[in-house]
């Protein structure tokens, strides 16, 4: 597939957002959903890696399995495999959920824990179903971290390998079809320009290609530090930190300018170390996959305000 044939991120219906812990996966997922909703579309964001934090990104009360509108046109839900199973039993098998189903539900929870893939299927299945039957313009999934996402996305295939008949098999067939269609489904990987996140992202790209049928739709490089100086400016800065000029500067400002210059030195070194990792990322990822850069946020704010800021930066990167 060539670069220009790749479906733009915002045109996809089902976007899984993953990333190593601490890279800002949930921030990016919530910003993406907000960005799409701001275009007047109907969006569902689902928290799978349930830590119950998602609502905080919209200043909303905690979310549950039943979606709730948290911003205009933007609905949020938290995945819960047991509820997903109950819904599935009710809608697909017409088995009532109340009363006597209790022990069976328990049995099923046990099965889901024991039989590999069942829990994943209930999660991915619910998401696919939302896309197919509920008419969302986009479903954004705040997915498990890089270490676990492949297992989840590959679950339908894994189950197909183990189960040849039955209702689950029927389900996995259409789910696979949806996941494999790059016009519908895409994976967005979030990383920071640091050693381990970059290494994991490159490994993830390979594993996603080899073990799943889902297309990597983009990589978000989060927390990119600003470039402080142009080349000659850095020479000026270096000269300023020499004992003579620094002493002069101290006198002029009537205080110790040392820490201020030292902080700039730290910022320059940090940026430099990070740019070698960025270089590695660019070399390690298929050039057809767009890299989206988001700036480091120095602000004191959090919650909805940060989500808005990140959504704004993401929009710029996507050419909006």
């Amino acid at each position: 597939m060539t670069a220009d044939a790749m479906t733009p991120l915002l045109d996809r219906k089902l976007v899984f957002v993953t990333g190593k812990g601490g890279t800002g996966k949930t921030t990016v997922a919530s910003a993406l959903a907000l960005l799409v909703a701001a275009q007047g579309k109907r969006v569902l964001i689902c928290e799978v890696d349930a830590k119950g934090e998602l609502a905080g990104y919209y200043e909303a009360p905690p979310t549950g399995f039943k979606e709730k509108e948290v911003q205009p046109g933007l609905f949020a839900m938290t995945m819960d495999t047991e509820s997903s199973m109950r819904e599935y039993l009710k809608l697909q098998l017409h088995i009532p959920v109340v009363g006597r189903i209790g022990p069976v539900a328990k049995a099923f929870d046990f099965l889901a824990a024991a039989a590999p893939g069942v829990r994943e299927i209930l999660t991915v299945g619910k998401l696919c179903w939302e896309v197919r039957d509920k008419g969302w313009d986009m479903v954004v999934v705040d997915s498990p971290a890089t270490g676990h996402i492949v297992g989840q996305l590959a679950a339908p295939q894994a189950v197909n390998g183990l189960v040849s008949v039955g209702l689950i098999r029927n389900q996995t067939d259409w789910m696979l079809e949806m996941l494999s269609d790059p016009a519908i489904t895409g994976l967005l990987a979030v990383c920071t320009p640091e050693e381990m996140p970059v290494t994991e992202t490159i490994e993830l790209a390979t594993r996603v290609r080899e073990e799943t049928t889902v297309e990597l739709a983009g990589v978000v490089v989060n927390r990119v530090l600003p470039e402080l100086f142009g080349r000659n400016e850095e020479a000026v800065f270096d000269a300023l930190t020499a004992p003579g000029p620094l002493e002069e500067l101290d006198g002029l400002v009537g205080g110790d300018a040392g820490p201020v210059l030292e902080a700039a030195r730290l910022a320059v070194t940090m940026r430099r170390t990070r740019s070698t990792h960025l270089e590695r990322l660019r070399e390690g990822i298929d050039p057809a996959v767009p890299l989206l850069y988001l700036p480091y946020l120095f602000t004191k704010s959090h919650g909805l305000r940060t989500t808005r800021q990140v959504a704004g930066s993401l929009g710029e990167e996507l050419g909006l």
Binding site: K51, P103, P144, G151, L167, L240, E248, F298, K300
Partner: protein, 405 residues
Amino acid sequence: MAARASGGRKGQAADAPAPSMDSLLATKEIVVACGPGGVGKTTTAAASALMAAINHGSKVLVLTVDPAKRLANALGLDGIGNTEHKVPASAFTAAGVKPRGELWAAMLDTKESWDSLIRQHAPDEQTRDEILANPLYQNIAGRFIQSHDYIAMERLYEIHSTGEYDLIVVDTPPTRNALDFLDAPERLADFFSSRLLRWLIVPYRSKLINVATKPFYQISDRILGTEFMGDISEFFILFQTMYDGFVERSKAVGRLLSDRRTTFVVVSTLEATPLREAEFFAEQLTERKLHLGAIVLNKVLPDYLQGRAGAKVAETLKDRAEDLAAELSPVLTSTDATLGDPAQIARVLTEVADSYLNFQVVALREMEERASLAVAPDVLATVPFFDTDIYDLAGLLRLGEQIWV
């Protein structure tokens, strides 16, 4: 005892110094490094083990889960996998230190560890081979997320019972929930003793399906298909043969974790999200009566970013950039004629000031987070932000020295 840091401590109980990583690592046999992802857990575990090997003259093992490639190289772990491996003397020489003890390292290979566990507990060769070949088993061992958590603790137990090491430092796998690995042994035991497991197995033993289990089978068959149900049952029948061994074992693992020779070190950064997670984890440890030995805060921005005086200088640099540049121009010109452009100097001063003020916001936020930390461990260690990555023993040493006292 340690020559360097704790040499004079014995018999000085009255004015004994505050507990430190030094004393913690000198007294415990197992240190479990845990915390959210992306905070430097692996490097902290490796640095702690290195410091203990250097200072305590003990034989130390660091059991790591997923080290960065360069760090794995430095520890001689590249391509080594599950077996323990002595970190070569050359690595220490390169870092300019001479250890009093030995540092060993091993990586955790989930699949390999499961296989060896099966070999150990299988009642006979045939059962062993059948389990190892079962497609369901292969899926569980390779992919099943909880299996990773369990096996890390199981490996720890196995190595500890060999009595080969004075100290074992374990890095824990990145889990969805930092607590998963604590529950893993118990959950596995529950799993094997569960009545549902017996339900699954019964009909294939006696073809006896009673009123209670009937709806379960009907639904399971409809959803999963009879064949898959058969596979599952077969797998559990095989597994059942190892029931006693497994339950015994997972209970022992659980006991080891709560043993007083074991301590937990929670690693975090001062960013809000990981710190909340670390705090929650520390609280859970206390609730479970597990020993919270230390909290290590990584990547903390330098103190000089917090000063009010610094901010004042930065503001002056910004407000008076042009005046200052005019004054500085002759001085810089005398260094190098190309550096004297006042407009350029003014730009540099403004950038420098902005950058300081930006980072100050972050540094102050970190300070606030630290001050409001809801848990009070014996040891609270802070590691400054390193401007380069840690990929060799010298780097680990730099980190280690920061957490040591």
